[in-house]
Symmetry: C2
Subunit: 724 residues, 2 copies
């Protein structure tokens, strides 16, 4: 890719961004679109244009984003979102501090490196304007390489310092959230798995109750035995479906009652497959009948489930936070694979079906999933390599000769050259997250947020291996493949060797990501269009409309890994081609701004894990840093710089830093520290309410009275004190 | 070593053993020796010859050892001793089950392997009678090697099965001991380290009290801040020394009052260095004066210590076992390196000076010690190799020509050949344990038993690396050294190659160990002689006499590693030279018998760790098994057996077995399971007594009243309930 196509790509991206931003300014002021641009506020019952931002200047949202504090974010969107912003700020600071030193120093050093040699006519390659500013422009064994070596140290130490501060900060955020005086149900509950078989003549409930009552005579409240809800969920979903359809049909009927035809037209439906075949019946009557049929069926199934489908797992409720935090960290049974106890996640993120997987089966599943993921990572590498090798313009012309006339037009050529490989890559990557989330859940993880963290981790390794290493090596794939096969240790050298050649590719990739990606994010064009289509053609009831503009959450499972990919790219090129740093700064700066707006006004978090995402983020930033240090060392080797071994301490320091952080901070992210849990509550917790919040909707019913709960949702005499 | 010298060595060992056993039978019946042969019983206030064993036949002790149950051992000597016997029985069973199959099958297979080839005259080496019975006698690529391959599987699976059963059994032993209804002080206490600096205007005691009172309002009892006892210990030791000397002088004076001289001779002493120089004074007066001087000094120092030498560490007392067990497992502070809490060890095994080492300093010390130990293991390898190479008879003649005449006498020659290398080895190894224990304590480990486990682990790796690998390679050291240097991966092959040649060496080594080692153990000749010498020439008072026959404990730090060395040797030769199995059986059988006697009648355990030694033993037996599997695979390779790769699954199965055991059992050996701790106590614990049992002797004093304890040994109003 030459310099002009790079500039074209950059300019196009920028134009798209400006258009999207103008669209946003225009669209977001229309009242009809408020539910798309301010759903979070509306759901909270606030005025969408609080503070009159509708009438003020079009860039008011920027001001609002900047003036919002971390506490605002925590109040509106929870600790997880705040932690995500800590991550953005930290990376941004790392890049700004690195750029402030590296750009003024390294760019002149690189640019002036070859004046003499080119005069002598011995310059061996042709350097375009961009490449002149990179380390590739410095000759082998040149003492100027010292500047690059020291730069690697600077970047590393800036990272250590800021990551350390961020970890302390996030740890404080988590502690503050956990010691909040509000009653949070999940802080009073633990999840018990691997309960041994019940002895003859005893119910599961009695077993659980007597076990925990003997250990916690004072603080035990009651237990809820986990049941197999498959059947009852099916009936419940069916019932809810009919209720929705009934409401829809009634809305349609009401609408048809126009002035001309006051009696209206009763909607009809067909009873067969998908409402397409079968007998034609009156919808309202038909759905009412169905609901009447299903309600007793559901109640009967609820009873059966509670009584007969009890599993070897339970939720155990305590009257104090400290007791629950202690219980979640302590070994209960002499055999570690019995009565395993962990913190209960929030009710909304429970993965019920995973509760009953046994201890060693979970271990086994984990390893099986790791192997599958490793294989996926390996085998996806090959197609990506092919795509990258194919989608160069010359190859296109060669393999698809009928494209030649179109490709030869200068404008099309430049655009194609600029975007083809990137678009192929982005489409390719869009297919994966669902699979990885499914695999993570198959590991037997009991909570949604944990599954998302696991999926995010897998996705990170996938993107780094396949996109970064794959694309970098892809251009030279066929020539280097044999060499790596011969000597696997040469991977680092080969990788380092092919890095500079791909610098412009990644510059474009990052620019595309931030201009178009964040432009789309801010303007919410896709949700807007979908919402308006649905509103016009599908939605009849209030509930349906609400569903149509439901904003969703930040989507950590894919957002964090793709940010991580950008960090990896920027890190790895930061010394080799420092020009990438400003692009990284824009990416994270723009990201911070746009997402701050979205976090305040759009996204509604679907769970709260009190910052448990952070250790995961921290580790992966360090992994990127390590990759940077290793590739820089490799590239110094390629440049035959004698003092390259001075870089060897860096990866070692990174590992030590990682272990120290892990030792010092990690455990408090897995468990709740007791000094945090022992803070006083605002009010005596209403344990009945805490208990009820964990009953799955398919089992909860206004009619189900205390008697029925006697079965799986055990009831013991509440003699324990309610004081925390 | 040829066959006759092997027989000589065996016979000599056996004769020594018989003599030692007869000595034991004779000596142990003399009433004056009772304190040497039955000290444990005497200390418990029992009759030494309970059940009249003194009058019965001389082998009555064997009957007593066999008829004692595991519960007897636990009652007399604690869980740790019982666990040691589980270890002996397990290894014995493994060897018996292996031997029952391997000996009748492999010996004929090996012995008949070469009849044809020797007839043809192509036999390439000379095989002595022992070597004909080993795998070395089977030719390369011979299908008879299948028998040896299957034998390796048999030995492995027998080991897995019995180790699994043993782990379950030991886990039960530990649980039973921990749930005992007796009040054991250490079950109510946790050790808190890394307490953050005290804030201005607050005492350390207040800080600790308020911290734990807010977390455990119901179950917190009080705390004892750890003080720097160096000074007070010094004065205390001095005082105790003078007290002993006074008692001694008084006894000497009393003795001198004979009928002839009823006024007696007052003993005198010199005040200078070691009582050898300086002014001559009356001993009794002098010591009395010194004691009078030191008592107020000690009291003053006690006050100063309690008030001003408080450290960032404390013992915290709870009124219930469950609370203490919970606290020891839970994270207390948001920063993991603050307020770290662990189970308190027994009062008698506290290593006070290690309590104040900081979190990361402990980590660092651990790694530094590991490096030092690794270096020790490496550098000792060279001298041992030299010794082994030097002490062959030919070398002796070469380097020490003046020995030639003596060495040439047949009898001396055989004895020297049989014992020289072994004795060199044994002396060499005797020097090490102290160093390793010192290093383990330097890691910052807070309890004696833990330090002993750590030392034992280091000693195991030392013996396996240096004795087993060192001696095996030592014979061929100079020739193979270069080969290993060239290709480190060839270590296994080289090791496997030189194994068969050293089989007789190790046969003799094992035989020497069990006949002479256990003979000396049983007869207790050395303690007996020392006791009688002391009694005659040194001891004047009852206390001094008691000290002279103090029996000591089993000495796990060296006993277990040396047993492990035998296991490693027997495992590694079990398939290659199955003749070693009976030797192993005798070693562990005799060991069981002799030590059972000693455990019942002699040794007094110096601590109780409730079987925490077991995971350590288990892991090291598995490490030996792994070494066996790898060397057997290597030797199959040396024999050029095509199907040798069929052995590869074995090490993998061993690793899986190890991880499964670790997952299932290990945590309950580190922490107390709550279902165990919640068992009811026989009586309401006397917390004051529990608290007092942890006060170090140098700080406890009858005169020190409650007021003084207000300082470091905090006193809060005991409003918490006393019920467990």
């Amino acid at each position: 890719m030459d310099f002009s196509s790079f500039l074209t790509s950059l300019a196009t991206s920028f134009v798209i961004f400006v258009i999207l931003m103008l669209l946003f300014t225009w669209l977001s002021r229309k009242p009809g679109n408020a539910v798309v641009y301010y759903p979070s506020r509306i759901l909270k019952g606030l005025d969408a244009w609080e503070g009159g931002s509708r009438t003020r200047n079009p860039l008011a949202w920027i001001w609002e984003a900047f003036s919002s504090t971390e506490q605002d974010i925590i109040n509106v969107s929870g600790v997880d979102t705040a932690v995500y912003f800590v991550f953005l700020t930290t990376v941004l600071s790392i890049l700004v501090l690195s750029g402030l030193v590296l750009l003024p120093v390294l760019l002149p050093v690189a640019a002036t490196a070859r004046t003499l040699t080119t005069v002598n006519g011995t310059s061996k390659g042709t350097f375009n304007d961009l490449e002149k500013l990179s380390m590739g422009h410095v000759e082998e064994k040149n003492p100027r390489l010292w500047a690059f070596l020291i730069a690697a140290y600077w970047v590393s130490f800036v990272s250590y310092f800021l990551l350390w501060k961020a970890y302390i900060h996030v740890s404080g955020l988590r502690a503050n959230a956990l010691m909040s005086p509000e009653v949070k149900p999940e802080q009073f509950v633990v999840l018990v798995r691997d309960i041994p078989p019940v002895t003859e003549g005893r119910t599961r409930k009695e077993q659980v109750d007597s076990y925990f009552k003997s250990i916690y005579p004072e603080t035990y409240y009651r237990s809820m035995v986990v049941t197999n809800n498959k059947e009852v969920n099916k009936i419940y979903d069916e019932l809810e479906g009919y209720k929705k359809k009934l409401a829809h049909a009634e809305a349609v009927y009401a609408e048809s009652k126009t002035l001309d035809k006051p009696e209206g037209t009763r909607p009809t439906t067909k009873t067969g497959f998908l409402g397409l075949v079968g007998e034609k019946v009156d919808s309202i009557e038909y759905y009412n009948e169905k609901i009447k049929e299903l309600v007793p069926k559901l109640e009967a199934e609820q009873k059966v489930t509670l009584r007969e489908k009890q599993q070897a797992s339970a939720l155990v409720f305590f009257t104090s936070r400290v007791a629950a935090a202690c219980a979640a960290q302590s070994l209960h049974a002499q055999m570690v694979d019995k009565w395993t106890v962990i913190d209960a996640p929030e009710p909304r993120q429970l993965l019920w079906t995973n509760f009953t997987i046994k201890f060693f089966e979970r271990e086994l599943r984990q390893y099986v999933v790791y192997v599958i993921v490793a294989l996926t990572i390996m085998f996806y590498m090959i197609p990506i390599g092919f795509i990258s090798a194919l989608t160069t313009l010359d190859n296109l012309k060669k393999f698809l000769p009928f494209l030649k006339p179109a490709v030869n037009i200068a404008a099309i050529k430049t655009v194609l050259e600029a975007y083809l490989p990137q678009i192929a890559l982005i489409i390719f990557l869009a297919m994966l997250p669902k699979l990885l989330l499914f695999l993570s859940k198959a590991e037997g993880i009991p909570s949604e947020s944990h599954a998302i963290r696991a999926a995010s981790g897998k996705y990170f390794y996938f993107t780094v291996f396949n996109v970064f290493i794959g694309v970098t090596l892809g251009g030279t794939l066929f020539s280097t493949f044999k060499q790596i096969q011969k000597d696997p240790g040469s991977l680092v050298t080969v990788l380092a060797d092919s890095l500079p050649g791909n610098a412009t590719f990644f510059l474009t990739y990052v620019a595309l990501k931030f201009f178009v990606g964040y432009g789309l994010e801010l303007s919410r064009l896709v949700p807007l269009i979908i919402f308006h289509l649905k509103r016009k053609y599908l939605c009849k009831t209030e509930d349906e409309l609400k569903e149509a503009w439901a904003p969703g959450d930040l989507g950590y499972a894919t957002r964090i890994p793709s940010d991580m990919l950008i960090i990896t790219i920027v890190y790895c090129y930061s010394v080799i081609a420092p020009l990438i740093i400003p692009f990284g700064v824009v990416y994270f700066g723009l990201g911070w701004l746009v997402l701050r707006n979205q976090a305040l006004k759009v996204f509604v978090p679907s769970f709260e894990s009190y910052g448990r995402m952070w250790p995961h983020i921290h580790m992966r930033v360090l992994a990127s840093l390590l990759l940077f240090q290793v590739t820089t060392f490799g590239y110094m080797g390629v440049k035959k710089f004698y003092y390259a071994p001075f870089l060897i301490p860096l990866p070692i320091i990174s590992l030590i830093f990682f272990f120290v952080c892990k030792k010092k901070f990690y455990r408090s992210f897995c468990n709740t520290a007791l000094e945090v849990a022992c803070c006083e509550l605002k009010e005596v917790p209403n344990m009945e309410q805490v208990f009820r919040s964990f009953i799955p909707p398919s089992l909860s019913s206004e009619k189900v009275d205390e008697d029925q709960f006697e079965d799986a949702l055990s009831q013991v005499s509440r003699m324990g004190s309610f004081a925390a």
